[in-house]
């Protein structure tokens, strides 16, 4: 499958220290804008625990320095770097997507 960088909107559309959900080729992707160290992350919006499209509405934080997002429904946490499930219990990992910022716009790399 081919991969392609897709423009998902201007940087200013993405609230700081929060997640935002974008639609790319029918996929729901949660994008996180962490301006402190100029970091951006993108992961699937679907929480694998109860299969709900909610991760963009989770709280961002870190576990021992590793950035993570916590699902608003039952508080499962996932690494923003590699998608690994990092809280207690047996829940699947999630998919992450590469992000880059160019000329004031945000791009995600997805399969087309």
């Amino acid at each position: 499958m081919n991969k392609e960088w897709i423009n998902v909107g201007a940087v200013v559309n993405f609230a700081k220290d929060l997640g935002s959900c974008v639609k790319v080729n029918g996929l729901q992707i949660a994008v996180f804008n962490l301006p402190k160290n100029n970091q951006w992350y993108a992961v699937q919006n679907l929480c694998p625990h109860d299969k709900r499209m909610v991760l963009s509405r989770g709280i961002i934080g870190d576990k021992e320095g590793e950035p993570k997002v916590t699902c608003p429904l039952h508080k499962n946490s996932f690494s923003l770097k590699n998608g690994k499930h990092v809280s207690e219990g047996d829940v699947d990992d999630i998919t992450t997507y590469p992000v880059k910022v160019k000329d004031g716009d945000v791009f995600l790399e997805v399969s087309v």
Partner: protein, 839 residues
Amino acid sequence: MNRKNIIVIGNGMVGYKFCERLFNKDTKKQFKIITFCEERRPAYDRVRLSAYFEGKTAEDLSMASIDWYKERNIDLYLEDKIISIDRVNKTVTSSKGKTLSFDKIVMATGSSPFVPPVPGIDKAGVFVYRTIDDLEDIIAYAKKCKTCVVIGGGLLGLEAAKAAQELGLKTDVVEFASRLMPRQVDDAGGEMLKRLIEAQGMTVNLNKNTKNIVGDVSVTGMKFADDSVINTEMIIISAGIRPRDELAKACGVTVGSRGGVLVNSSLKTSDDNIYAIGECVVYGDMIYGLVAPGFIMADAVVEQLTGNSAATFTGADMSTKLKLMGTDVASFGDIEPQDIPCKDIVLNNPHTGVYKKLLISEDGNRLLGGVLVGDAAEYGTLLQIYQNKMQLPADPMSLILPRNDDAESGIGIGDLPNTAHICSCENVTKGDVLDAIENQNCDSISAIKSYTKAGTGCGGCVPMLTDLYQYKMAQDGIEVSKALCEHFALSREEMYQVVRATGINTFADLIAQHGKGTGCEICKPTAASIFASVFNEHILSHAPLQDSNDAFLANIQQDGTYSVIPGIPGGEITPDMLMVIAQVGKDFDLYTKITGGQRIDLLGARLDQLPAIWNILINAGFKSGHAYGKSLRTVKSCVGSTWCRYGVQDSTSLAIELEIRYRGLRSPHKIKGAVSGCTRECAEAQCKDFGVIATEKGWNLYVCGNGGIKPRHADLLASDIDKDTLIKYIDIFLMYYIKTADRLQRTANWMMKLPGGLDHLKAVVIDDSLAINTELEAQMQHVVDTYECEWTSTLNDPEKLKRFKHFINSDDQDETVQFTRDREQIRPLQHSEKGLRDV
């Protein structure tokens, strides 16, 4: 090297546990594990099966996902049953036609419910209670029924009866013996249990021998040997279990005279290459119908396969505790005097519904067994004393007497020997836990849990595990950390003090100066709640810190939609305002329901609809009901002296005044209040965080009550006070709670942990013993004066409104949110109803 094929027949609780343990122990990778399961789901927690009725899904109950097996290279065949074993050529054949060769077989086929062979038992409407599929069938059929009979008054029967009742059915329990739970409790205990069960609204019929089931195609009733009849539309059978030994029989493996796959203490069957474990086994004439013995068997076989040929199974304890909501029943050891001389101690209080009996040795030194009905709080301690043959205290009665919180019990966790079992599901002893703390650097409960696995099964031992951990820490002179999370060494109370003392009002400053890292789902909302209690700024000015509920000013539901609850102070509302709500419900097609707090819940609103909905409500004069926040919810009221012929004060006006005073107040957890117009207490004030009851002379103030998971009656803080004093006391009480409580600690729980308890609280609130009341009152006044409706100000701020959209790069809606209709209103589609696509 060629791996040896281990075929595990049956993937139930015990079969799964065997796979897990063998995989972990098989460090040399000698074995290839293959497991067959007749059911369509991999192993799930059958013990918690009834939780399915409380909304747990099959996934919640699952012991491990299909990927778990894949990752471990364990071949899992679902909905495929082993139908024959060729012991000469060492192969098994499955119902789907798979033939595989084996080196060893582990039979873990479990048991099936015993269905008594009475005429008519095959009619529609007769069910058993064993698998998730059974439960789904029961739920579906119950929709058409109003009545249900459960055959069997044992452990499982009562669990099934409770479930039937929760489905809204009028439920009868029918028992053949002369008492309930005949194998676990004695006559007097059975009598007390019957009363407790009947008090919950079920009917108990004893000494009933079913003659036949009545009805054409479907059940309409049951007839008994004494010619009595019970009319019913459905029947759940829970009359005991039969081990699944049909496969063993078919391939010539010896079975017990009364059924069950016969094993020796090595858990080997009559064929050296075939082991059997779990509920299908008969050992020493016993069938072990509980999960813990099955796990011990699984362990013993794993040990043998991985080189410890001495590992054996020589029987296991069959002590049980019934896990019925609202009814405590437990028993252990002998429940009736046996051959050896013994004495019993009985405590029988029909008034409180508590029956306890201990059987002790003639010399008074040893505990031989016991029965606890109505209150089984001492079960853990007693079981330990019994299992470890510990010396009893001089007056064993002290072990079962109702205790007030300060009194030391006769025997504490420190007295237990190291061999004492803390977690029987995972077979973890006190010694194992101490070793984990001392030698494996386990420095928290969760570290102990993940190292020893204790508390990861049924979870019943977690309180004891916590006690043990705290005991050990106290012994070593280590202070147990109250740290909020990995980012802050402060407790919530300390963080509150820091914020007040320093005036820090951003999370960035707080974590930079008093914490480390970037924060998490625990410390961020805690800080946000403290900022709100102290400064009372708009909640969205701290959006990145908020739980989803506060971030979107609405309560998130299981499907990702939100609820909308406008404030209706005191529950008083005009017909015009009702029409506004009705119109919103209609226009946006929301599910509408009256809440327990006397307001109206509108459910199923999408994120993007929230501003439009609130715009209409606010313009009509509503304010946010803060139903999403850890804050004041409602002050419930009755109509009081204005209308009620018994009322002695105007409870409605006071409730409205109080609700308006405290609305929007942020706190460690939600707060509920109520005001009743006389002692008849129609507003249920005594189960609220603060409750007020009118008297002839003024008002009585009750605090720290709770409904919910653990109901607690509120304590009387002050009587016959006038309104100004009342409000002053509530101000101080609430602020003192906000200042000192832990995160997510309701007032009831806070009170139970408060050093000095009610006396201390009275001294603080009434006598100002800490000399802080002027400050607390001023803080409350600040919150009251700076109140703003969060929705009103959000609607006026385009920046804040930007976030109320599902996609930021498209106006599409979230197509995974789908509804169907029940009783004319919308409800979310369950996953099973919508054929979910993967991302």
